[in-house]
Symmetry: C2
Subunit: 350 residues, 2 copies
């Protein structure tokens, strides 16, 4: 016998590679190609290093209040964490404690099953239809919770709010998490349903539409009761997850609505142009409402295209998984980056 018998052994999530090469084109982890709001830079410049010696506000009220104002909810409806991964992990730990399985799509964010395994939560995946849309009836069976990303990743498909509402309404005994990491690129949020459904938790992130993946900020919005449960667990894990810097930078970002609208609109425009170009090159894809396109080619295998792009220092994401192993997830970059991608694809494919 050894201490190793008591170790929680897991198969961890493998994040997308984070290469750091000069001139590389990085379209593999759905980061924003534009910098954060200039107000974030200002907030960083104005940081008082001396305050660093003090613990931050454990209630993160500076950031919570800014988010509450932006999304027109009360501060007691907002929970913040170290990226939406932290928020989702805490939510799994808080809400998914049934013997019945938690349900989520078979093709989805690859962290859901990792969290379920970590916390020993039973789960079942619900197969997406052939066209990658969600089959709502799958979520009507007994369950211990539901998590659905909308738009879904890595497909990019947006499920209409009505369909999600059916699922939420049909499951009053389960917390239903809608993971809206990618909702800001012309998607429609379920946030307006929060007041109506006490079992609904909406999770969003600063990593994509607010260009702050490196700042590690995510948040959840729900009714006060859900948020209080979540905070109880959070305060049982780590009282101070958000540094002074996260709080100040996050607040600055939320308050610059104009910049947010501008960069998300720009990404949407680039995405729509990219769809045309990719179609011309022989790709097909679900109609993405996210900041990436999930594309398969009519002739050449995805893995081969992935490798050949990589040789050219262009990084996209390839998942070697059932049903999606002939797809590439291509993050929408700047127009210039996309032109470089198309030029490379032309070389590779034509």
């Amino acid at each position: 016998m050894s201490f190793e018998e008591n170790v929680r052994k897991v198969i961890p999530y493998v994040p997308g590679e984070q290469p750091n090469r000069p001139n590389m084109i990085k379209l593999n982890t759905n980061e924003c190609p534009y910098p954060p709001s200039p107000r974030v830079e200002e907030a960083l410049q104005n940081l008082d290093a001396d305050r660093m010696r003090l613990y931050p506000d454990p209630t993160a009220s500076e950031l919570v209040n800014a988010l509450a104002a932006r999304y027109q909810v009360n501060p007691d409806q907002v929970f913040v964490g170290v990226g939406s991964d932290d928020v989702l992990a805490m939510s799994f730990l808080t809400f998914f404690n049934s013997e019945k399985p938690v349900l989520f799509p078979d093709i989805t964010y690859s962290f859901y099953d990792v969290w379920a395994d970590l916390f020993r939560i039973p789960y079942q995946t619900c197969p997406l239809r052939e066209d990658f849309t969600i089959c709502g009836e799958d979520y009507l069976r007994p369950n211990g919770g539901i998590v659905i990303p909308n738009p879904n990743a890595p497909t990019g498909l947006l499920e209409p709010v009505d369909n999600l509402e059916c699922i939420i309404a049909a499951n009053p005994d389960s917390v239903v998490i809608i993971d809206e990491a990618y909702v800001d690129f012309d998607g429609e949020s379920v946030l307006p349903l929060v007041d109506q459904y006490e079992n609904l938790l909406v999770v969003q992130t600063f990593s994509k539409s607010r260009a702050m993946a490196g700042a590690r900020i995510g948040f959840a919005i729900g009714q006060p009761k859900l948020i209080a449960y979540l905070n109880d667990v959070k305060f049982s894990f780590n009282s101070y997850t958000m540094s002074h810097v996260s709080l100040a930078a996050g607040k600055a970002a939320v308050e610059d609505e104009t910049y947010f609208q501008e960069i998300t609109a720009r990404i949407v425009r680039t995405r729509e142009r990219a769809k045309e170009e990719l179609r011309t090159l022989g790709f097909s894809f679900p109609d993405s409402k996210a900041n990436f396109i999930f594309a398969t080619h009519e002739r050449m295998g995805a893995k081969e295209i992935f490798d050949r792009l990589r040789e050219r220092d262009i990084y996209v994401r390839y998942f070697n998984k059932p049903r999606i192993d002939d797809y590439l997830r291509i993050t929408v970059g700047t127009d210039e980056q996309m032109e470089a991608l198309f030029a490379a694809l032309r070389e590779i494919l034509l």
Copy 2:
């Protein structure tokens, strides 16, 4: 039935209050009274806001390498997290999965039982002796893990390394965590034992001796096998816990050894002077090796002194708990802050 039946209900840790009043004297959460190293300020000033759009290095190598160099271990022996609370929470989740109880002192950091409850880990507390020292034999019974803070909090007592080594050596089948949050104030670390004992994990923090409570950085050092298990769980929880800012600021702090030695020595000098003064005022206390003094008064109750200090905008910590409800935990501040405290105590007591 309702979703609430599946909520993980916990009694969360209540952090010390974080008042923010002009001219207050804050001696209640063991923060450092001096600012972080000037190199930290420099690192903050030099931050490239544009990099914020990219995910940080998930392996945190910049900070891990700096810590490895400072503590003369290999990078694969270092784990970093969002404060030592995050590191400890992950360690509980990773290593304490036995049906046998985890052991820790009855008077200790009040988060240990909170984590145990959160993760449903059975535990037993081992009573400290009357003089607050640890009774080593208590840790020789069958257990699922051990966690001991050294110096202990809130007593401030340092247990000799030899005593801890007996416990570590006697428990090869358990991971033994030595929580050294307060070791840098003239304490002796068990770090030199790490190469010898594969079941030893040493946890430290930037919150006290490096004056960076607001930056949220903690770390663990152990043999590569332990660190790998810990990283697996961490990567199953949140791939990117450390922001760009934490990595850069943490590295800058670790690299300024001179400043670190200077401020910790200054706090030790102030502490030793404070002991004399408190004794004169009728207090007694275990001989602290931490950045706080855990004191009881010969006449006046601790709660009363606490309240009267508070009226004067001087904040210390009072724990309404068995065995220690007549003690105050007083953080060692600057000499000026301590003089103000003594003046107030003279008014209150004499």
